[in-house]
């Protein structure tokens, strides 16, 4: 690709929105939002992936819907309206999971419902959707969901690999290792393990951003 095209892409507003959400202002590793669910659902890769998809769906569509209504929402009840839209989407996501991914929905238990209180969703609705056109708001929501999800899946990768010796439920550490005395790291299955891994992610992101600047 020629440099001119790259430049045109990197200078576009969409690129900035996406890059911010995925990297420079990543919801988890830079803004440290949504930590509660990130601790709870990252014991296994598949719960983390489903949670990431559910949150991406909710934040993208709540942004889109709120942005479409942004000029008619009465200012004095705007927070209530935002929460109503978000809550509706979350319950729809929860119902769909219960209908088609029952086992995973049981494992996620309350944490799908708790997307309603996830600061990322509310934060994007307030700061982006209320003041931007639908296209920008939708892309912003999508990118923030993926930014959240990428850290979630990253954390789950290390927790499942080190804590259970498997990935996506498939055993990776061969049985013969266990016979030789290899042991899974029990700490990784507990919440403190998630704290440590997320802390390392935050550190890595800050260190890399410092080098760039």
């Amino acid at each position: 690709m020629s440099t001119a095209v790259v430049k045109r892409i990197t200078r576009s507003e969409t690129y900035r929105t996406v890059a911010d959400a995925l990297w420079q202002k990543n919801p988890i590793s830079k803004q440290v939002l949504g930590i509660c669910s990130a601790l709870a659902v990252t014991v296994q890769m598949n719960t983390a992936i489903v949670m990431a998809l559910a949150l991406t769906f909710v934040v993208a569509f709540s942004n889109l819907i709120i942005s479409l209504m942004r000029n008619v929402i009465p200012r004095n009840i705007r927070i209530i309206v935002e929460v109503a839209v978000i809550a509706t989407l979350v319950i729809i996501a929860d119902e769909v999971l219960k209908a088609f991914l029952y086992d995973i929905s049981k494992q996620l238990s309350v944490f799908v419902g708790l997307i309603i209180t996830n600061c990322i969703v509310m934060g994007r609705a307030e700061t982006c959707a209320m003041s931007n056109p639908p296209y920008v708001a939708f892309v912003d929501g999508l990118a923030n969901g993926i930014g959240y999800g990428s850290v979630l899946v990253g954390v789950a990768f290390f927790r499942e690999l080190l804590g259970s010796g498997s990935l996506l439920g498939f055993q990776l550490v061969p049985d013969v290792f266990y016979e030789w005395g290899y042991m899974d790291m029990g700490l990784m299955l507990l919440a403190p393990g998630a704290f440590i891994v997320i802390g390392l992610f935050v550190w890595l992101e800050h260190a890399l951003l410092k080098n760039q600047a």
């Binding site: 709870a40 008619v72 929402i73 009465p74 004095n76 009840i77 209530i80 309206v81 109503a84 839209v85 809550a87 509706t88 319950i91 729809i92 119902e95 769909v96 219960k98 209908a99 088609f100 029952y102 086992d103 049981k106 238990s109 309350v110 944490f111 439920g169 919440a191």
Partner: protein, 245 residues
């Protein structure tokens, strides 16, 4: 139109749209969710006797086929006798039998116990000696995830296997959840009747202990039949209990 009226109109319209969407999602998906819940219960019945592996995944059809092949659901009266289809006493209890090659291997009692935040539903399987617990599973509860919610985890449920509900003299003692590890918290002679507790979930353990005792007491006549004869006598036309819905 004043701002106040506009606000109220907007809020009303939003509420109507949101509730319509939620109603559509809830009713439209109900059939699928019911089916999933049914398969999940059948799976938990099979899991309580170790007929399905907790680490493996099964399709709904596989679970249903295993259930049809091995599980017989009968109705028992208060004396612990299996009712035939023409008897209809007021108080009846469902009981699941796990059969292999025509012989009953385990009997499975449905558990409906008080919990800290809501009811705990599950199954308790016993061997045909009428005393040894073969397994315990939970399929629905509202305990705190990470604390009381651990009752649905394998490490907790595995503790029940091999525990006894009667002592060496044949007296009923039930099964309890210890406060902490059994070997530290429970007298030596009572250890076969207790399982390790969950730290941070003392109340869940307490209520579940009470619930299990109540249920085991209610089903004690059935257990006595098994203790004395190693089996239940099934009448020709046993009253089949309603499949769980």
């Amino acid at each position: 139109m004043s701002d106040g009226v506009k606000t109220i109109l907007f809020a009303t319209a939003l509420c109507v749209v949101c509730s319509l969407l939620l109603t559509m999602a809830a009713t439209g998906l109900k059939a699928y969710q019911r089916e999933n819940a049914l398969v999940d219960r059948q799976k938990n019945i099979l899991k309580s006797v170790g007929a399905v592996s907790p680490t493996q995944s099964y399709t709904g059809e596989e679970i249903k086929a295993l259930y049809r092949e091995h599980i017989k659901c009968v109705t028992v009266g208060q004396g612990g006798e299996v009712l035939s289809a023409d008897a209809a006493p007021a108080e009846t209890m469902p009981l699941y039998l796990y059969e292999e090659d025509g012989a009953t291997q385990f009997y499975i009692i449905p558990v409906n116990s008080r919990g800290l935040w809501g009811r705990i539903y599950g199954y308790l399987a016993l061997e045909t000696d009428g005393s040894t617990i073969a397994g315990f599973t939970v399929y629905q509860h509202s305990e705190t995830p990470g604390l009381g919610g651990e009752i649905e985890n394998r490490w907790f449920q595995r503790n029940f296997v091999g525990k006894q509900i009667v002592d060496e003299d044949g007296n009923f003692v039930s099964i309890g959840i210890a406060k902490g590890a059994v070997k530290d918290a429970v007298r030596q002679d009572l250890q076969p009747h207790y399982v390790d507790g969950i730290s941070g979930a003392t109340m869940t353990g307490k209520y579940l202990t009470e619930g299990l005792e109540d249920i085991l007491k209610t089903y004690e006549p059935v257990s006595v039949h098994f203790r004395n004869r190693g089996m239940l006598k099934l009448p020709e036309n046993a009253l089949v209990c309603q499949p769980p819905s």
